[in-house]
Symmetry: D2
Amino acid sequence: MLRFLTAGESHGPALTAIIEGLPAGMPLDVAQVNGELARRQRGYGRGGRMQIERDQVEILSGVRFGVTIGSPVTLVIRNRDWENWRQRMDPVAGSDTQPVTAARPGHADLPGTIKYAREDIRDILERASARETAARVAVGAVAKQLLRAVGITVISHVTNIGGIWAAADEIRTGDVAAWASRLQSSALNCLDADAEERMKEAIERAGQEGDTLGGIFEIIAFGVFPGLGSHVHWDRRLDARLAGALMSIPAIKGVEVGAGFAYAALPGSQAHDEIFYEAERGYYRRSNNAGGMEGGISNGENIIIRAVMKPIPTLMRPLASVDIRTKQAAAAARERSDVCAVPAAAVVGEAVVAWVLAEALLEKFGGDAWGDLQAAIDYYRRRIR
Amino acid sequence: MLRFLTAGESHGPALTAIIEGLPAGMPLDVAQVNGELARRQRGYGRGGRMQIERDQVEILSGVRFGVTIGSPVTLVIRNRDWENWRQRMDPVAGSDTQPVTAARPGHADLPGTIKYAREDIRDILERASARETAARVAVGAVAKQLLRAVGITVISHVTNIGGIWAAADEIRTGDVAAWASRLQSSALNCLDADAEERMKEAIERAGQEGDTLGGIFEIIAFGVFPGLGSHVHWDRRLDARLAGALMSIPAIKGVEVGAGFAYAALPGSQAHDEIFYEAERGYYRRSNNAGGMEGGISNGENIIIRAVMKPIPTLMRPLASVDIRTKQAAAAARERSDVCAVPAAAVVGEAVVAWVLAEALLEKFGGDAWGDLQAAIDYYRRRIR
Amino acid sequence: MLRFLTAGESHGPALTAIIEGLPAGMPLDVAQVNGELARRQRGYGRGGRMQIERDQVEILSGVRFGVTIGSPVTLVIRNRDWENWRQRMDPVAGSDTQPVTAARPGHADLPGTIKYAREDIRDILERASARETAARVAVGAVAKQLLRAVGITVISHVTNIGGIWAAADEIRTGDVAAWASRLQSSALNCLDADAEERMKEAIERAGQEGDTLGGIFEIIAFGVFPGLGSHVHWDRRLDARLAGALMSIPAIKGVEVGAGFAYAALPGSQAHDEIFYEAERGYYRRSNNAGGMEGGISNGENIIIRAVMKPIPTLMRPLASVDIRTKQAAAAARERSDVCAVPAAAVVGEAVVAWVLAEALLEKFGGDAWGDLQAAIDYYRRRIR
Amino acid sequence: MLRFLTAGESHGPALTAIIEGLPAGMPLDVAQVNGELARRQRGYGRGGRMQIERDQVEILSGVRFGVTIGSPVTLVIRNRDWENWRQRMDPVAGSDTQPVTAARPGHADLPGTIKYAREDIRDILERASARETAARVAVGAVAKQLLRAVGITVISHVTNIGGIWAAADEIRTGDVAAWASRLQSSALNCLDADAEERMKEAIERAGQEGDTLGGIFEIIAFGVFPGLGSHVHWDRRLDARLAGALMSIPAIKGVEVGAGFAYAALPGSQAHDEIFYEAERGYYRRSNNAGGMEGGISNGENIIIRAVMKPIPTLMRPLASVDIRTKQAAAAARERSDVCAVPAAAVVGEAVVAWVLAEALLEKFGGDAWGDLQAAIDYYRRRIR
């Protein structure tokens, strides 16, 4: 029963996450968490705020001398700009003399203020901001450390920005380490250097025109053994849980597993991954259209899942909108100025995928103690050989 | 806190569902539930079993004289073929002299037997079978009745089979009743008569070749008021919950909301739905790329969500596989013989979408009693005008 | 993630339970489940209905040839009297010409009809009836089989009826098998034969006077190893979960662990169970005031927990009440006529305790497959020696 | 779906709580939260630490200008002694040269280290410490503010310390304000001044002897309207949830509702609360043995629930124990030195009861926005008159 809650507004004092249910005795490296936070902030096409906020996590509980002790882990990421915002965001007292009242299309602004009966859109946008995903990246970074210790690595790469496709199918069968290092040197987290050049140009152009771009990223989990998730009840299916997690990232509007939407045009005779067996290798496939899951269960192949991000809805040339106080036409307010956040979203995607896999892993193996978990996995690996 | 569990094997005695948390005093029409079950069984390209099973639901609890009483509702769907299967599926005693040992690619067969340490694949395939979705259709039919009483209608239509696209974008803004009746007369639940003809031919051809076809369906929820779901925590987002629910349907490999994957190629200036206001209409949009949700919250426009189904993996010409007992190559077993189940999957899609909306509705409004729920919704509708 | 839902009215067609999350490959003996159902129906002082209903469970899913297969298990207990009640309880159509309108004190009648806005108290009392506990006994009987396979036995005995105390402290350290057989021959599930005689006389007398009696029972779980439950978060504490489960049994008004309320008068120097160690025995205590749990975690001693049951509120001499339709004074209706149901409640108590322990066990050890669970427990037992 | 997580070690940097699901627009007064934290620290018989830690809450999210905005609320309570403990509790690096190895009876020390495979008992005792309850008091203080706005007040009083009983039955029907003020001036949160004197003497004496005392406290919720909780499923019962919450407080070993364990000796004819009706008053009772709940549902009378606390197990004269490293006999370590913490536990009891009631309230009425919640409750109050 691994679970977490996150909290925090974009311009409030801090983002906080509490993770409950980690095994005790697990090494937890803060530097790696900070590394993931830095990866979320990188990326060609990011606006000024990313420079302000070099995120650092502080651990307030659950870890002692770099090792978990079984109790809930608190992660705090301070918002460095907080002092400048205190007057407009004070938790205890005051009032905002300049409420935001022009609802931005494509954001939670309008449905959020309606639902929660707010008169200042800031009450909504502060939490609906993508800043919230920093907390999830921190949480996912912890999950990644858990996974890595049992041989599972989660990486991402960008396959499309603004309609420009990268040719990157090779990664799905490649060697993790090689791909990972190649991605590290890419400004857009993209494997196809030619496509990346064109993507950069498109971002440049969009930026000059005050426009924004969306795109697609792919998450791959290497080293997942068969048996995570389950067919027995709908809410235990690994694909359902991964899809829900990815769709919960702000601006994500679609998710597909393996061949995904291309399955519509594939006849059954070409669609499925035939099964083979060799004594040293165990069961294996020569194709992976299924994206590593069958019947809602991991099947031992790499898990492959993609998500599409809509372009950032805050434009330099604001969209037509309405003032929620006067009900008169108004230009949508500007809150930030990234041109393209797809590479950052991919990092968030890794985080949520890592979380779901860690959750499924602990459900399957229990493991209050790090050694118990390792022993259970070892037993299982021997059993299923 | 609406919740449900389903149970039942494909050739066991029955499918059962328990729904907990429905308001008391809600009229529940069994005929409508049976109507939905029948819709799931219809569809060009379905195999012989659909004739055997004319599903009927039996209510064992929670409803008295056609009205809910607040206690859990039990729905049972008998498997009519049970007597013929009793010997191979007896719960209490016996053994199967002919276990299934050839794992079918594209099914839960192999990962399921590995995970659960089974030696007879039947132990897995019986529950992993799409038959399970009949229980979810029954559950969804109850949710639909709840939604309908507050003005929300959930329908579906097929937009692609085997790569053949229907031109059906109009439906998203059309009049529900008109569309619904037009769909009723379609053998494939498709709005584009021309495309439907070509789809039928493709199905015919695939059937003759022992092949199968997948496709895409679209779910539209009309009449959803703003404010279902929330931006405040990832697992409360309506889009995330809908995506998870749709992806949990067997054979679904992708989900997209509104413009979905097409967002990748749309610049921000063209992607977002500008906001307008008129006194009689309230807030409205002239486009609906967002598919009725912004920031994980319904925004008052129709909810539009699509899913892709892979072709049925059980082919007349079996795929290469392995015998789990001998580890020798084996031809995958045949269990059923539909050519294309996309129209049926669309009905299941409606059911799970209806469920998620009903859940979100009750979370927002509470409502132990039918009248209390109606009063809360009336109040909200007046408040947000 | 073991979970269950139950459903069913007292005079409806059946009680149903779905259990989700049992390991696959676990032997499940229906006769043992029926044996527990019979134990619930026994007991000196029970009314006529107990003769009508000789409960039998039917399994509709999740079990094949006497072994679980990982999918949800459906248990159905038919209400034998259903045909006589069909007209007053039909799910689909009809109406009750004789609604119950006199609210009985001590039942859910009044708060239930208020909450759910019902005009016929039968809509409430049918589910609030103690008959619901038959489903929980069936569920608990499954949990008991799981526990027994890992060496944990849950038994109960009655320690007080109508104020008459049994002297039964010895059981807590005794040999399970001996106690269990001794209890089997007791009409009141009581270890103290003298006290039992006086209890019987008290029941006899109360029955003659149209009165009813409550009492206290004790649940003991033998063989629980240390480490179930947790101190790390309030809702993981084993004592909290056991207390919640016991208090959820109809008519239970108090729960205490180990020395329980007697702790108030014990100074700390006499209250706590000192810790000793011997190579062959491991850690042990010479007293068990803590009732087998410290810090919300099982500590390896027997778990001891008691609950008090109020006297059955349906009396032959009805209490003063009000007609919910007329608001005039009315005599409370009679629905059944047990004099004392404490021995039956003890059986329900065993069931819910067994469930909570099984839940905690699977949380700790995972175990999709029976062999994996056993291996994980073996490993743990060796690790903690 | 109100929920929270807490985190934090006794000597770590801080306690943290995240509350998710509060309605937006609710006034939240930090001073009141601090007031409750101060109440937890008061009390005759508390040791030195209570002087060190004058707890203050800091809000990091979810509240703006003193009003909730719908997003998760983060509460942080700094541990003022942290700087002195940093070396022994550093999250990131270091090691403890003086691990705690003597397990204290009556604490989580031994079962916790076994479960989580720790070699330094500090890894367990830091979280198992009653310090954790400060976070719950803060969370409960928020719940109390929500309840107070709808007319529900939760108070507590001590009825027994060390076996000395207070005569305080009157409170259950009294005027809240009067009782509350009278309790404020009591050092032991006790209504019976005579008994309180004797309790103080007993505490004094125990302190001199290096001993400790337990006791009993009672929680009363005034103003609860009928209909919270439900009879329809075991885990919705209000009494079950309250019992679980109270039993989850460290050192609590028993819980009883209304007449509680005294029900065992009451015949049915004297046990139940007869129902009356008057036009202006609505339904009412002349007795409240049921403690305000029937069938797991609040019935409109005051909710009355008691809990027993065992004496603090850390004594000046240590108990016999074992060193977990050497397995040799050892004297249990001393970590703190309160003589009696029953008044503090009563404050924690109020907090957890308030939380459960707030949870049940929001489940029943929904209410994303403060005004919507109020309107729903108004409607219900009119409906049930």
